[in-house]
Symmetry: C2
Subunit: 309 residues, 2 copies
Amino acid sequence: MLDILNEVKDFEIITIYRHTGADADALGSQFGMKYFLESNCPDKKIYALGDDVGSAADMFPTRDQLDDISIAKSCAIILDTGNTERIDDQRYKMAKKVIKIDHHIEVDAYGDVSYVDTKAAAACEILALMFENSKKVVSTACARALYIGLLADSINFTTTSTTARTLQAAAYLVSCGLDVNKISQERMGMSENDFFYINEIRSSVTVDRHVAYAIMDASTYEKYGLDYNLAKEKVFAMANVKEFEIYCLFTEDKSYGEGYYNGSLRSKNVAINEIANDYGGGGHANACGVKKLTKEDISRLVNDLANLL
Amino acid sequence: MLDILNEVKDFEIITIYRHTGADADALGSQFGMKYFLESNCPDKKIYALGDDVGSAADMFPTRDQLDDISIAKSCAIILDTGNTERIDDQRYKMAKKVIKIDHHIEVDAYGDVSYVDTKAAAACEILALMFENSKKVVSTACARALYIGLLADSINFTTTSTTARTLQAAAYLVSCGLDVNKISQERMGMSENDFFYINEIRSSVTVDRHVAYAIMDASTYEKYGLDYNLAKEKVFAMANVKEFEIYCLFTEDKSYGEGYYNGSLRSKNVAINEIANDYGGGGHANACGVKKLTKEDISRLVNDLANLL
């Protein structure tokens, strides 16, 4: 296992990065690393960089600011990022040494030191086990950041990537003084507005064979104070229904003008990304997206999906 | 830690019990124990007894049948039950030896051997750690039963009773060959009917200060093929909303005649059981119930709850 304290020992400045469109595993591993180094290297200056924060941002501090000269002197640690293009703050290239720590399938083999474990459910799992192994101080703040990332990427310990090691990492983090109940309330709680908007989605569901879908107009989500980005995330409103093999949320995107919808498509078992490709979209086998659909396109798309089952 | 194989070694017949109104921890610990003994004592006859199965029943086998004479020869193991009155199948009293294993606060100190750990999040947690400690065979079926009970009583590892030990127990069970993704799909999946009924509840929600409540008539839940018992369980439809400090589901119970409702009351932080008591109900501080309320009673009750906040 990588000895991170040994790797950074010759540097006074450490810069920490993660991918663009940061999710909870990206931010959790970034701040988990920051807190671990702060506890164990009080003489070093440690910065969490990166502009682009997503919907998990409210559970983490804001990023640090740093000038180019300082970055050029630093050791860069890049977390949860498989390809160099997605590293948020490309100034990492200026750093004296680059360390990659990741759990994605390797797209770019970058870094002077690289530690990739594709069997880990989350980058936060790798760090939790690394820090436990180090026998050094792990503060509650560090454990909290890692636990949030672990929960997010393993979807509360339910994904196929969740292993005994994932739960061992979780057990270790809880032993560092976490209040799992408080973390859960922070993570799972939705606003009353979201509750009622999700209800609108569920009330709009149409079922065609085993495909469930909802078409949501901008006027509806705006009524609940939501913008397009927040509205389109709510595809989970149709998750966990036994009969819904495939479920899709079509959300109006007014940037294309009126009457155009972007679709978030989810499938439990069948691969649906080829159909997404047919409509100019893309993504993973069980989670993909299509942009700029008319209502007629949606009808055809839903029919094509239903024909897969 | 209790050496269960040593405790039962002199018996040819072992009978296993749990509490009435069996939940997933009761059934999980009962069948987990049964499978463990079957793997490790192939010469013994092992029976899971008890009539009263609840909504978790579809994830477990049906109970065994056994005559009084066999029970009288047996060693009885009683799981997850704090008081003797709730033991499902009172014939346990006929058994030659009684072993109690539980995580509830002790109401009745019963049993020739008693192993009570109130710090465990679930009876299944106690068994998982006991079986791990034994170094004996733990089959995947045994691990699955225990994991389901552990998830249920810890509400997916989110309750205040969830400790590092709970997650260590979970890690051990997963290492016995569990497919956590499959278990999650089995547990979390709701039927399309439930989806649309839950939606009716959510569409009926009224918010009074930070109390959310829904009043559901029998005609509505019957439209979705639900009976009273299945309908009243759906109080979770209002969970996890930041603004809802207290939430209540009032479900019509036609056994009292028309227009009478039973309430399931939930609170995040404030104790509400004294108010439940004022209306002739009872239960825990944050989860309690009241029976036979008119709509006028409900208005007064909601007002009393809102005044607590």
